[in-house]
């Protein structure tokens, strides 16, 4: 190899690393190294402040599985919350998308309107709804005398579950609606028109033609709603802070409290590793199950 070619090769290599290294360094520093540290710290006892980090093997995981009812409760809450919100979010937003994909008057205004809650931070959404649940519902009940407004929507542990779920669904519908609308726009009109001529009713048309064709959008929307529900934090933080008691404490909030309120960083990282494994397993399973349906259709 001549010196000129070698120089060109070195220059190419430098150029490659010059353009790619900054991105990789940022990711390594702020995501991958912290993640690997989390896995390591999950085998230790560490209060976050001390330099002293003590290796304790699987003790954190054993405690998490055997003797932590709060964590168990957070797990059950998160799973129930996920099932309820994923199903209702996707059904409602798909319904809205189908309606707003039709040629109805003012559909652009309507699409924009339903999207608005999605651009507001969840922390603010939580506070706004706290106002509605307390002061707002007092006024509604004075005006309508309906019992539904007299219930303690944030104070009763069973009702608080539904309040938190309802507010999450309310906030996210716009986002999933937009994903579904984008999917519906790819459905060829001729195919639907042919079905109309064949005398297929609108409901049959939706389940036999439209739904199979928009399965890729369903996969994406369910994937996002699943992973967002499993790591839900902000809206609970501001709406109930996990209460009353620990009734609405999600896994993510439980991790936060363990690490930053109880100063048990080692144990917190063990919980966060479990959260990672949970989300990973659930979403991989969902993607493979849904992708298979996409191929069939």
């Amino acid at each position: 190899m001549g010196p000129a070619r070698r120089r060109a090769r070195i220059a190419r290599g430098l150029e490659f690393f010059g353009m790619t290294a900054p991105a990789l360094i940022a990711i390594l520093l702020f995501v991958e190294i912290p993640f690997l540290m989390s896995v390591t710290f999950s085998f230790t006892k560490w209060n976050g402040l001390d330099k002293a980090v003590k290796f304790i093997g699987l003790a954190n995981y054993r405690e998490l599985l055997m003797s932590d009812p709060a964590a168990g409760h957070a797990m059950i809450f998160t799973l129930l919350f996920t099932v309820l919100t994923v199903v209702s979010t996707n059904v409602i937003s798909l319904l809205f998308a189908v309606i707003l994909d039709a040629r109805i008057r003012g559909r652009n205004v309507l699409r924009a309107a339903f999207y608005i809650p999605n651009i507001i931070s969840l922390i603010i959404i939580g506070y706004a709804w706290r106002f509605i649940f307390s002061r707002g519902f007092d006024s509604f009940s004075a005006l309508t005398h309906m019992r539904i407004f007299q219930l303690s929507w944030l104070g009763d542990s069973r009702l608080a579950f539904f309040s938190v779920a309802m507010v999450s669904v309310w906030q996210s519908i716009g986002f999933y609606m937009v994903i579904y609308i984008a999917g519906l726009q790819t459905v060829p009109r001729e195919q639907l028109e042919a079905a109309v001529i064949d005398g297929t009713g609108p409901v049959d048309r939706f389940f036999r033609i439209t739904l199979p064709l928009i399965m890729p959008s369903v996969t994406v929307a369910v994937f996002y709603s699943l992973s967002n529900a499993l790591k839900t934090f902000d809206v609970i933080f501001s709406l109930t802070f996990g209460g009353p008691g620990t009734a609405t404490t999600s896994i993510a909030l439980d991790i936060y409290k363990t690490a930053f309120s109880d100063s048990r960083f080692g144990y917190g990282t063990a919980k966060s590793v479990v959260l990672f494994l949970l989300i990973f397993a659930v979403t991989v399973f969902q993607l493979s199950a849904f992708k298979r349906r996409e191929v069939e259709s």
């Binding site: 702020f30 008057r105 003012g106 608005i116 931070s121």
Partner: protein, 275 residues
Amino acid sequence: MKRPRGSLVLSLVMFACAVIYLYPLILVVINSMKSFSEIMTNVVALPSRLSGANFVNAFTLMSYPNLFLNTLLVTFIGTTGVVLLASTAGYKLSRTRSRYSWIMFLLCVAPMMIPFQSFMIALVKVARTLHVTKTIWGLGIIYWGLGVPLSLFMYHGFVKTVPRELDDCAFIDGCRPLRAFFQVIFPLLQPVTVSVIVINAMWMWNDFLLPLLILSGAKKSMTLQLAAYNFFGQYKIEWQNAMAGVLLTITPAIIFYLVLQRHIIKGMVAGAVKG
């Protein structure tokens, strides 16, 4: 274009739905202009007079201009960094076909599968070690690492649709590689850049958990979302000021949305579908 019958009825029903749907937000707006006693007697009624007093209170109580600038700065530093890092790396990795390039690409996009909550505790430790806590700059820089994977993935996919001949001319002209990239290639990536800006800016502007972890204890450098938390976390909430505070906090995002609506929706869909 003939609309099917019944579409008018459906449209009216949907408008009614939209009003009910947004009613909680309408109530926030109404009550942000009321006095405390008016809120305590009736939330639904319109304010007896239009008054900006609550806004003035919230504005000064939150020290709004300072917060606004902080949040804007975080969003700007974070988004600009993500665009620069992700576009250069996404382009180079997409154009280079080698094993190293492939490994690097995997290392860069794998974090899309790692939820923030599963490494946040250790991230705080890393941030303390690097002395990037309690500063707006530090927070913005941390967002680079969190934002690049998805954005890089989007650039990487889009670059494949840009003909290679174009970079040949750009680089043969003897420009320095970075200059050639920004003068010739980067403008061609504009559709992704818009999506990347929208996704990252909306996220960073509204994010709460990372600022809470990184900025806690720093009084001078807070973001709007963080200040809202302190504002509402008080023992006795003054609802009238709180509602004005809510409105002040969400207005910038709402304006951003109304002005760039099309781009925002397109960007959000692109991010979701490609991600």
